[in-house]
Symmetry: C2
Subunit: 194 residues, 2 copies
Amino acid sequence: MKELEREIQEHGVGIGKDVVKVDSFLNHRIDVGLATEMGKAIHEAFADAQVDCILTVEASGIATSITAAQAFGNIPVIFAKKGETTNVSSDVYTAQVYSFTHQVMNTIRVSRDYLQEGMKILIVDDFLANGEAVEGLISIARQARAELVGVAVCVEKGFQEGGKRLRAEGIRIVSLAIVDAIEDGKIVLRSEEA
Amino acid sequence: MKELEREIQEHGVGIGKDVVKVDSFLNHRIDVGLATEMGKAIHEAFADAQVDCILTVEASGIATSITAAQAFGNIPVIFAKKGETTNVSSDVYTAQVYSFTHQVMNTIRVSRDYLQEGMKILIVDDFLANGEAVEGLISIARQARAELVGVAVCVEKGFQEGGKRLRAEGIRIVSLAIVDAIEDGKIVLRSEEA
């Protein structure tokens, strides 16, 4: 998606060999106009799929999930919660997700009340890198016997294994931008023609 | 706001004397149509104020912040992060926030890059109860010498002290719904005429 790719080129920061810092517009400060356009692009990619509900995980996945849900005509968004909380009932689906960013294992959880068998679910997140968060969400969708329509992410790190592994499993993945490498601080994007 | 009040009456659950469970439409599963309307209502309440940016805290404040930012014409949203992270630079404003829900003290942080002196900031969150989260965000806005336009929340617990204390400090608070009590599991809302 051109607007996102331009934003990554202009304001993204590559650190070391694998960190793509986009917190000026995606996951700390949010460019809401861009988020709205990304939501529309996700809807376009899955417009044929009759999505019932978007599933994401707190916190950075929420913004794009909301704008995508608007583009689908205000379908609900469910965000999985991380860690323990006293306010989510014990009647939950859970999955273990390792966060490379925070270097901790998180339990993510979704109340059983909100996922039904056969519900068509689109998973949305800001990043796809090693795929841990997305796999946790897929596990939760499967526990609920929901139907996984696919996965939409804003930025895929093409040099990490998550996207490759999920596609090999036959899961439909749409990435609005793919980073192929970080070279001397420069973020190298996969061209759309590739 | 009538739509939110109706939703609270129909789908909110009062637990004990002080828990208002609204996770079927506000802070776990999100009713995106309602979120969009709440964003418009927040814009209407602060339309005179030339807001530059919305400040919230992950995770439950993000959805309404996004829809409010859209109603303001796509102004940016900054969400404070909780806890330690390796990806937010050390150059941050921080505040200590006690979470009654999780019974832990969290450090919330915002990168100094995104808040400038004189910037007109509207704080948005899903709940105002004891006011800890909002006070943490106000502290961060003041550290940045930003101008606090006011605070907009979806649900205020009128029987807790946060709203009262902040109003006594002269801060403009807009609550889209105010819960005055929980009586035998029934959520008692303050009438709009009151």
